[in-house]
Symmetry: none
Subunit: 432 residues, 2 copies
């Protein structure tokens, strides 16, 4: 096995050279490559420019055996990847009639004729392996030339990912030999990144010197912390065993803050808990504008337990649809504990659900005050059997979309905590 | 003036070649460069590896006049940027006593002696301009050699940014002359990428040879196409005028498919249209699970026009909350034209809104049939004055989240089309 087997990842597209967009495909590709024991030599982003793409390909293949390109496989004039790779490798491009037919069928399914420009997507460098794209019109291409392996993948992540983790990874695994990267991910809610690190760094630090060595990374996203563990192993059984013990040690320390040890979305974990009890959920959302319900329904099969929701942005809607009394709105304001409770209880009594969420807060940027600043959100959870309601106030930092996301995630996590009987002492809660 | 003046941005650091971290400094640097009329040729990330850094520097300076490096200026053995740049440019490194003293003073302020390793940070390639770093120990460096300009900036954004926007930008402004990069973005809905390109490529292609030259990029995201125009100009008035005319030509050709010429989100444009009429909107969402309402409420100030919404996932919810008759659900199924119409009309009569959306479809992956496949979504829009309802059926391709996103975007776009009196003949519609 070649210890210095390294790959280059090249993203093609002028939009990724602007101040607002960047290449993220390389992160997924890196993960797959690392899983095969292959590191990156470097990665680069080039615009839709023949000269720059050509120079980047030459530079990569001059020094390294593996080159993964994404983007520039579309049907238009500025999609140049196929052409420039073929020219560099001195391979002629042939039109592949099976691809033309597949693209034609895709358009036909929508009742439209294939635009002639899409024929470009059927051009294949001679000798290349075509990788089907069930999610888009541009197929992937795998070219082997001398001892070089060049993969051309479409830019849209949902089209690129299955190709990278499937046929490309299979081919590269044979080049890379028997190493495997094992990974685990713990999803943690209700704690800040530094709080989690303080709590567990003494546990994971010694693993760096252990055999097999386990690397730990902490990632923060709105409402969550993820702890990623990874180990490069040749002995799969010993490796899995070591990771199992590592995960168990972290779970013991972090307790109810661990949502799951699979890395699955919170909404999936909570959905499975609801399904196991045959419980259904209803939501009354104000500041989150339907985001909590939308996230719950991102999970396949969620129609089993998501019963109904209301988005009650106006005071009239809160009154008419959920029975929040006018006097309560006048006396306490729409963003208040009584209104959050009334929303959750109103949702429970106006549905067949077993548990209900009420959310009311100030998403910003306007509408804040000293007493009720932007980011202040009241969340209530009401349960049918035994009947009770709990409420808490949070203060989330960030812009409008961040506050919405934090509030939606936290509301669903509070349902999880309620279902397992865990306390609600989460980090971003204002003490009353 | 050199028409092809382009810059290369190179981030140095192995941590940015992992699956979880990426370089973001380049976005800020790009913004500053674009503001001076300088485009990026390409950008790259290299690890802390002498050979890779050296090859990347050679590649950049071989083809381009400006190279901005970030990172690799720390005090440890794996901080290699200074050394490798100096070696490539054949400049000896001298210890700069003023820098040593500044670093020593920084440590002294915290009551500690300067570690000897920090002397590395005081090594300066002969002839380089030293850029003070009030926020950290590594100074920036600006090297001019022949007609090349090489900037070495620290990796931490708060240290890098003031150097880039200050001394580096000042120096580059003199190289760039009076050029400025002007940009425009058209947001287009209801058409596929290839359809848009077919329609307008004859219009934009000649602009590549025009004076000023206008570059056009087409970007696709779920439910949208964006057309980005950019021009490097010295005469701002003439440049703006040329872009205005270009945008107008595209708008004439694309008609009602142009959502806006500002690049603003669809939901903001539709929100402004509703606000201008003092109209309010209500939504009854089934398969989108609240996503359409959530997207509308991502816009600050949307509480002015988003009145209320229902997420009616279950048949009982459709019946109880919006009055969809049981017989209709039995006879036509929940995913049908009558139910979409009944949802929109129910939302209108049960709210103070002036316009309402009804959405019902099959998000998948389960629940599809030959007659009603996954991705089939009925969307209805009901208007109060004059009272009417229109409905259409769409077939969206992709997984669950894609179908939800397409359906939510299309529903809001159909409101826009209704408001401007445009036809509903969008691309992803099944002909009835």
């Amino acid at each position: 096995m070649n210890e210095s087997l390294k790959a280059v990842v090249l993203a093609v597209g002028s939009e990724m050279l602007t101040p607002t967009r960047t290449d993220t495909n390389s992160l997924y590709i890196t993960e797959v490559l690392n899983g095969l024991g292959i590191d990156l030599a470097y990665k680069a982003v080039v615009g839709d420019d023949r000269g720059e793409i050509g120079a980047a390909i030459a530079q990569a293949l001059d020094r390294h055996r593996i080159l993964i390109l994404t983007g520039g496989l579309g049907p238009t004039d500025d999609d140049l990847t196929r052409e420039v790779v073929a020219a560099h490798l001195q391979l002629p491009l042939d039109e592949n009639s099976a691809i033309v037919e597949a693209i034609r069928a895709r358009f036909a399914a929508r009742g439209i004729a294939m635009p002639e420009v899409n024929r470009r997507q059927a051009m294949v460098p001679r000798g290349a392996t075509v990788i089907e794209n069930p999610r888009g019109s541009a197929p992937g291409l795998l070219i082997e030339r001398d001892d070089r392996i060049v993969a051309l993948l479409p830019g849209p992540p949902r089209e690129m990912r299955p190709m990278m983790s499937g046929p490309i990874a299979e081919r590269l695994a044979r080049v890379a030999g028997g190493r495997r990267l094992l990974r685990r991910a713990l999803r943690i809610a209700g704690r800040s990144e530094s709080r989690v690190d303080e709590q567990v760094s003494a546990i994971y630090r010694p693993w760096q010197a252990a055999q097999p060595r386990i690397d730990t990374t902490i990632l923060a996203s709105p409402g969550f912390i993820e702890l990623h563990l990874s180990a490069q192993v040749t002995d799969m059984v010993a490796g899995k065993d070591a990771l199992d013990r590592a995960v168990a040690a972290l779970e013991r320390e972090l307790g109810a803050d661990v949502v799951n040890a699979t890395g699955a979305p919170l909404e999936q974990t909570v959905g499975e808990m609801l399904r196991a009890r045959r419980w259904r959920i209803a939501l009354a959302e104000s500041c989150t504008g339907g985001l909590a319900t939308s996230r719950l329904t991102d999970i396949a099969g969620s129609s089993d337990y998501v019963e109904r929701s209301w988005v009650v942005y106006s005071n009239e809607a809160k009154r008419d649809l959920l029975g929040v009394p006018d006097e309560m709105l006048t006396q306490h304001g729409a963003v208040s504990e009584p209104v959050a409770r009334a929303l959750a209880e109103g949702a429970l009594t106006r549905s067949g659900a077993d548990i209900a969420i009420g959310i009311t807060g100030i998403a910003g940027p306007g509408g804040g005050s000293d007493q009720k600043p932007v980011g202040m959100v009241w969340i209530a959870v009401a349960r049918r059997e035994p009947r009770d309601t709990d409420a808490t106030v949070c203060r989330f930092l960030g812009g409008r979309e961040m506050v919405k996301t934090f509030a939606a995630v936290t509301a669903v996590d509070l349902v999880r905590r309620r279902l397992i009987g865990a306390p609600w002492d989460i980090d971003w809660i204002w003490r009353r």
